[in-house]
């Protein structure tokens, strides 16, 4: 009994000493750490909550990786990334307001929201507040034609979304299609995508039908489909988001419209697309900002394959391009901070202007408007329920199937 009580007392004493010691140690390290606060207003609720959550995951993954692996210092201090999240409820005005709130708190370095409408609103505020923002969710070229100097987009511009699929079809589709019909949602991003696709189609010698428009987020696109039905297009390219993308495929079947192939923006690379449509999703083409076969690597994420594997282990689902572009935006910001050896927004901005590097996401380099026109998009195809890269040839992991029989 006496031995037991002695043991307990001894254990208690040792535990107390250890706890005191543990608390004593960090006091010395805290002074050596520079916490870098990045503001991120993302849609965690509302109509684009799904993509907003994917964006948040991408930013979080980057934060974890940088904090784990970073060895470089700023002013002799180890840097620690701290991303401050706010929900903008999928609304552009809230997304912009949140940036002003960040500015009031002294947070000058910003990671963008998701969606061209939100980012467009944010870019104006960033310019006003002299913050610096890296964009991972707004690809509309129109954002970057306004003379803004403080927003940098890691993604390929919107004009590449449909044009990349047109190029893939021109290169691989045999027999070569003659007519391509363009159907588009009527938001700014989709219209820019459509314009890019039409320009590429005409340049490559295809006959263009349309474009026909329908309201953004429409679940009934039958009117647009009825307009092009009589022309019997060889290909239908949809500049759409998820809801319209699913409706396009479903209602084409309902209306008996059977082109040789479908190609859509945004929707097919989202995992729910194949799950929702089942067999109807087979062989639908999609364009993606990133796939796990992208070329390039960096010191934090390694290669695209490394990123995909580690992301899945961390978050329990396959990495989508929304995850990857968010991580890439955060990475660009970190590279710029390291290059500038400062968190001053003007110095970071100058470093972003001159950034030219490879990463798991591909090339990150910005043209004079702040767009990353140096990174090509990938084209994927859904084959047996899996999302596989089929273009460009060097990144392809599966054969491009054409024409396909439903």
């Amino acid at each position: 009994m006496r031995n037991t009580s002695k043991s307990i007392t001894g254990l208690f004493a040792i535990s107390s000493l250890l706890m005191f010691g543990v608390h004593a140690i960090p006091a010395a390290n805290a002074a050596d750490v520079l916490t870098i606060s990045l503001g991120a207003s993302v849609p965690l609720t509302g109509s684009i909550a799904k993509e907003g959550l994917l964006t948040k995951e991408g930013y979080q993954f980057c934060q974890e990786k940088v904090n784990l692996l970073s060895t470089s210092t700023i002013g002799g201090k180890q840097k620690k990334l701290d991303i401050v999240f706010q929900d903008d409820t999928s609304k552009p005005d809230i997304a912009a307001q949140n940036l002003s709130k960040f500015n009031d708190k002294g947070i000058k370095l910003i990671l963008s929201s998701y969606g061209s409408a939100n980012v467009n609103a944010q870019a104006a505020v960033v310019e006003l507040n002299k913050q610096t923002m890296v964009d991972s969710g707004g690809a509309d070229n129109a954002i970057f034609n306004k003379g803004y100097t403080r927003t940098f987009n890691v993604m390929s511009p919107a004009t590449e979304y449909a044009s990349s699929m047109v190029k893939a079809i021109a290169e691989f589709a045999k027999p070569r299609p003659v007519t391509i019909a363009f159907l588009s949602a009527d938001d700014g991003f989709s219209k820019t995508v459509t314009a890019g696709g039409i320009a590429a189609a005409k340049a490559l010698g295809f006959t263009v039908i349309g474009p026909e428009y329908f309201p953004n987020a429409a679940s009934d696109v039958s009117a647009a489909l009825n307009k092009i039905k009589a022309a019997k297009p060889d290909v239908i390219i949809g500049s759409v988001h998820f809801v319209e993308g699913v409706a396009l495929i479903k209602q084409s079947k309902e209306l008996g419209i059977t082109p040789r192939g479908f190609a859509e923006t945004v929707a097919p690379p989202i995992l729910d697309f194949a799950t929702t449509l089942g067999p109807l999703a087979e062989n639908v083409l999609g364009s993606a900002q990133w796939t796990s076969t992208a070329k390039g690597q960096d010191k934090y994420f390694g290669t695209a394959k490394n990123y995909a594997a580690e992301f899945k282990a961390r978050f329990g689902h396959e990495a989508t391009y929304h995850n990857a572009e968010a991580s890439a935006a955060c990475l660009a910001m970190v590279f710029a901070i390291e290059k500038a050896k400062s968190i001053d927004p003007d110095k970071v901005r100058a470093a972003l202007v001159n950034l030219d590097t490879l990463s798991f996401f591909g090339k990150i380099k910005f043209d004079s408007t702040g767009q990353n026109t140096f990174k090509p998009m990938s084209v994927i195809q859904i084959q047996k329920g899996k999302i596989l890269t089929v273009w460009p040839r060097r990144d392809a992991e599966a054969k491009f199937l054409w024409p396909y029989v439903k």
Binding site: K50, L53, D186, A218, A223, V246, K250, T276
Partner: protein, 294 residues
């Protein structure tokens, strides 16, 4: 001509779906003078219940809709009896606020429970259609349309031929007089709200079988129900059906013969024109439209 007939048939089918969404909303507004801003949330919740039934135990949505209806009836009854009833005598703006708050709670609850992932009920016949001459009729949309017709006629029969239905109509006409006649207004109101929620649940099941859904779509269905109810008019059980069919046709024709971008603008323009010439809606009764308890 084939294109016109195809577009018109699609418009009618879409209109049937709109009517199905709106019929419960119209019932509550007409009887209780409550504009239920959580109606869209009920629709989406009905969709999720049917989706879960199909995902977990493979229940076909046309059977699952009865489960959705039952669950939502209970939920609607409880919400009205123990929440809305507390302020049912108050100004209409108070009920708007309360139902708006309930709407927010339901949407956020669904976000947490089901996530914001897009869902849809897949069936083997989901994208099937059959041909009538050169016109293609999608099967599931046709079934939803027929369901809207059947529900409307059943509702008419219920309120005209059953004791409970007559009690509901009587309470809607004059709550005080109904109480004097021995009708338990509190129970009747809860029953009405429960029926409305049940109908919303059935509509949600049909929507889940036709298109994708997620919690953020709730607002769209509330707005849709509101517009169709106003267009059709209150106080007439056929109002939602007539309003829905007209709205479906206008949207289909506008989409086909004008730019697709103008669809919603044209639909609301038609609403305004109808209200100018028929302020009570197409088949509404003046008594119900004029009864605004401020």
């Amino acid at each position: 001509m084939d294109t016109f007939l195809q577009v018109t048939s699609y418009g009618l089918l879409q209109g049937g779906l709109l009517a199905l969404v709106a019929v419960g909303f119209s019932l509550v507004w007409g009887i209780m003078n409550i504009v239920n801003l959580c109606h869209g949330a009920f629709v989406i919740l009905g969709a999720y219940i049917a989706w879960e039934m199909q995902s977990w135990i493979g229940v076909d949505p046309f059977l699952g809709m009865f489960v959705s209806a039952a669950v939502l009836f209970c939920l609607g009854y409880v919400i009205q009896r123990y929440l809305i009833n507390l302020i049912v005598n108050g100004p209409v703006f108070i009920t708007l606020l309360l139902t708006f708050g309930i709407n927010m709670i339901l949407i956020q609850g669904m976000n947490l429970l089901f996530t914001a992932d897009f869902r849809s009920i897949q069936t083997s016949y989901g994208s099937n259609s059959f041909e009538l001459g050169n016109i293609r009729i999608p099967l599931v949309r046709l079934l939803a349309f027929l369901l809207a017709i059947i529900i409307t006629f059943l509702l008419v029969a219920f309120v005209k031929r059953t004791r409970t239905g007559i009690s509901i109509m009587a309470t809607g006409m004059d709550r005080g007089a109904a109480r004097l006649m021995g009708i338990r207004a509190r129970h009747v109101y809860a029953l009405t709200f429960g029926i409305s929620a049940a109908l919303a649940g059935m509509a949600g099941t049909m929507i889940a079988s036709i298109e994708t859904f997620d919690p953020s779509k709730a607002g769209k269905f509330t707005l849709m129900a509101f517009v169709v109810a106003v267009l059709g008019g209150l106080g007439n059980m056929y109002g939602a059906l007539v309003g829905g069919l007209l709205m479906g046709l206008v949207q289909a024709w506008a989409g086909q013969y004008l730019s697709g971008t103008w669809v919603n603008a044209i639909a609301f323009l038609v609403l305004i024109i109808v209200l100018i010439f028929k302020p009570n809606g197409l088949v509404g009764k003046a008594f119900y439209a004029a009864r605004v308890e401020i």
